[in-house]
Symmetry: D2
């Protein structure tokens, strides 16, 4: 379904970087969820470029709720959020129309859409579209929190510098992360990462990193065998976020070097409940939540757009060319992407829970 | 859709490890694809346990084509393959009914299905169900090959031992891999891996590894922006394979330590066609195929079932317990999973191409 | 999804009239529903040809449950029923291979599948495939009945002869209909209808009719606005039954000649509950169940296969031709189709309720 | 998918009668389709209330293309149309908040959404939402016409008065209908129908009718067996239009009184092509297009909102009540609904063709 994702709860995205607006239709929310525009705005701020580590484009993200909210609560019918575009300098792009940016979607979009694509600023493939995910996802996050389910993401690695790990107090760590513009667990590494980003920027270069997400409070027994496993759904959702090129759950790729006797998570009774002594499975067994925190990491590639010269081809002349630079851009999007990852996670898990417990679960309770 | 995956081409799975049969319904194949039972049997052999590095369960996998093939060719209507179960020693399991195997789906299935699940041999969560994927996928692989699209997977890592990388002759390497029971590029490592597997087995333990898949001949422009990106579809499909806990495309998690100037793949003209000088993107830009080989890796966790004692809980008594052992099992499934990964890849890519080029593409050509 | 229908509960069909088997995969049933093979067999008997008013083909419909049932209860994982074909006289069809039966799918299937279709006995388009719907639907009907939801269909019209209407005792009438091989409310008309069918048969001709379905006990508030209205879902399901060419809800086409003041159903309190004084809406307002009986009628075309000569074309020679006769066939399928209509209704409504109340509703209660 | 419909081409609707805006996201259009705002405006005019036979609400329907069009052509990415609401007199509705209008969705929406629904003017259930269908559908209609596929709907019956039938010159009749504000084939009946509508209005009453749609130029072989038959898809789409309570294809309910020898459509060669001598099947055999005109009729119930007093209940007090009147409304919507029917037909058929021929068919040709 191209630009629509989800079953019981679905999100439909639209927009181009330099078009009239970008937006999202969220369909399937329970009626009666409180909608707080300030809360949405706060989440959008976490995604917005700011300071010297981001693009100079100023995005103010005015939120227009077009439908689905009445007297401050969700109606249960499609909730549409529209964010008009502003500060679009389209002329930046026309000169380099046919010079495909390496590792960006310019070439593949050109092939797929036969030249009719809106190429300005990456068009429909721009990270700008994720503002719609965040606006929609903010409402879903608040609905999950009202049900004791908390989601948080930190910059596990950026420009080669590593953050610490989630501890046993994940819920509190999530609360702290939700307020930080640059989300790390160990505050001391933030400055190092920012310095490295600025250094890359000054070299006309960019950096990538790893985002780690934790979910606590997930009910047990959610997810489906085979094709709608939680890993399938979450990875499907995450790879929709531009620049993500990998995902791993629990111990992830580290499992390749472990023995079963190390990697297995022994079940243990704790306070009358079944838990696991370790969480190498990342809270998911057989595709289904086991009540432990859901843990996964994604890798974000270095931003493909650079301000230094790059080798490429001219798609109109079919010959080699050099791309000097193109538009404003971010030397790093890892810290901005984390709220997008939170939001896609929220939408995906809300949907999975609704499939199991019905459309009204978020208001009625489980 | 729980046990159904795909749009233009869909696969529906059924079965339990110790039930009557397992099987798959493949719906949406072009009419006129030749169906070769020997070819399907050959692929099933690659999945089947054999020798000292696998479970002692003898699976003969008789193939019953129930529908969708007429005079040796696909009809275009649902193609159903049924594989009756045999050599099932169900009594092995009854004693340990409530002792959830660590990191297996016993506990989550018990929560989700309220005790009505067929618990014998992992029931519907058994790797045995992947025989249906392989039987169906074999037909899809042959349809892709008739269109110049080749898929191959090798054991990139197993028990901590690494295989080499794909070179520039991927098509030939795929041809070689397709014949190998233990698929590695450097034949010398196979023996080392097998030795390590046997050693783990003798210790009542198990090992995991990494599978790397390459696809050559993929048409350019296939895949969708946002929610049906090739990465989204492929990861959704791969995480349906039991034991996979991570996936990465191209340079994958290595991108976290690279600069954009390193990780970007410069476009270059070659023989009049647009190619990239490197392939850190794994053949996918913006979710859409760019004509370069599609490359991805998955991590396979060590088999959770062990023959040594493990700590667990008794789900019926809600108390800690020890699981001595349970049924026959594999000390390693990495080498068996590779053909499953080939087949899920084939089904996913056939579907994506059919969405773009229509239901008859595999016979009519692009 | 071609041969798969439904969201929370889905059914996937396979098979050809003269292939190995026909069958259905039912995915999404709550775990813990009792499965009674005799009950399924009883429903299949209602669909089976019998006596002088049906085809001479003997269908014994042996039921093979391949998966999804354990110790007599549904497991919650895919429930697959396979019915091997028998008494297939394929040679009957080869002579008339290219003579498309008027108003049957021979020609359109030939165009769509380019000649690779299994043409014997209508292949995948045969009414025989509905045995899979009935086998699967019987389980769903029993699950609905355990929740106080009853479905019944009668032959409202056949060969121009009309049956009476449902009264206020629909639940009892449904109970009576469920036992009748030829389901009419007024027993006296059954004989007239059967006589008319035999008369048509003796003339080498066929007849059609109207089926009327009633559902009582439907919970209020089920169905979705716009694209998943109950009317949308039910009609989608009904038009999957071969030979149905029309459907109307409540007063249906009669509404064209009414005024709003006549057709509107006034709300009235009754026993402390909101009801309507009339039911011209057929139990559905705005696509959502209103608690009144759901009532709809479908029209079944006269069986297209006739034993008299018919004008047609020879598809291989592209010239006019005469089709003398082809295979065994039914002079009327209205009475056989009614149980198929019951079953498709059951599957559709179960799915709509599960979307609202979650996957376990049928066992857990609303 | 509640408010999303379609596979290769999907439409997502949003909005409430008195909310900020209503709109539609059309996803999956081929890139390169010319978008003519005047053409869309013209189609919207056909839906808009006007004169004494409609509601007094003035809807100006300003069209805002938010995304998916670049330099006058579709981009291939989501095309979003937003229509801000205007002239909304919400105070009209507050007094009758809990007096459910008979046969309208007030009661079922109240049950489903637990009182959180936007009740003003019917909210999300208002016919106003169909403006989004028309705006989106207009683009699809033009794309179909560029491929020789023409769709037209006439008021077959209104207030008990009948129009004539389509003849052999359907293409020309469609061209004429497309320009008529009150679409009938026999111009003389329009005045009679309008007079009857006004008479009903003066009595505080409303009328319904029948719409008949014809499609010419449909390629042969489109549609799927079983669950995605053209009848299934078209009926699913049509029942999404408020007030439609029945649909029939070809001879429809008339088939109940015919013999097979009358109702069968003999195949005949004509100009080297296979055609049928009659078209009782309405252009569809076995769910698949046979190249003859697709013909179907829907019944539109009399508008449920009346200006005369009606019996109802007060949902807040759970007691009988009288509803005096409520808001502005239409004494008849049959003539307005016809363009909605055209548009839903266009979207449905475009999707079915794209499934068979791929995403680019409308520009690339079949």
């Amino acid at each position: 379904m191209k630009n629509t994702f989800g079953n019981s709860l679905s999100v439909t995205l639209w927009g181009e970087s330099h078009g009239e607006s970008i937006g999202a239709v969220l369909d399937g929310l329970a009626p009666g969820i409180k909608v707080d525009l300030d809360y949405i705005a706060e989440k959008l701020t976490l995604r917005r470029p700011s300071g010297s580590i981001s693009t100079a484009r100023q995005e103010t993200d005015p939120i227009n709720i077009e439908s689905g909210v009445f007297n401050g609560y969700t109606t249960g019918t499609p909730l549409t959020i529209r964010i008009p575009n502003g500060d679009t300098r389209s002329k930046d792009y026309s000169a380099t129309r046919f010079l495909a940016r390496p590792s960006h979607a310019d070439y593949t979009a050109h092939e797929k859409y036969h030249g009719f694509e809106d190429f300005r600023g990456g068009g429909h493939f721009s990270g700008r579209i994720t503002a719609g995910i965040v606006a929609a996802g903010a409402i879903v996050i608040s609905a999950l929190e009202q049900n004791g389910i908390y989601i948080g993401t930190h910059v596990k690695k950026c420009a080669g510098i590593s953050d610490g790990d989630f501890t046993d107090n994940i819920k509190e760590e999530i609360a702290l992360l939700s307020k930080k513009p640059f989300a790390v667990l160990s505050d001391s590494v933030a400055e190092k990462m920012e310095t490295a980003i600025i250094e890359a920027k000054e070299n006309g270069d960019s950096v990538g990193g790893i985002l780690e997400t934790a979910v606590v409070g997930m009910p047990i027994g959610v997810g489906e065998p085979w094709f709608d496993s939680l890993e399938s759904s979450l990875s499907h959702a995450m790879f929709s976020i531009p620049a993500i090129k990998g995902i791993e759950f629990g111990a992830g790729f580290g499992l390749a070097d472990m023995r079963g006797s190390e990697s297995n998570d022994p079940f243990r009774m704790k306070d009358g409940k079944i838990t696991t002594a370790t969480n190498n499975s990342g809270g998911i067994n057989g595709g289904i939540s086991n009540g432990m925190p859901i843990i996964f990491r994604t890798v974000i590639r270095p931003t493909p757009t650079l301000s230094r010269a790059q080798e490429t081809v001219d798609m109109s002349k079919m010959e080699n060319a050099v791309l000097e630079s193109r538009g404003r851009h971010d030397p790093c999007i890892v810290h901005r992407a984390r709220i997008v990852q939170d939001c896609m996670t929220a939408i995906t898990l809300y949907d999975a829970i609704a499939t199991r417990y019905g459309t009204d679960w978020a208001v009625k309770g489980l």
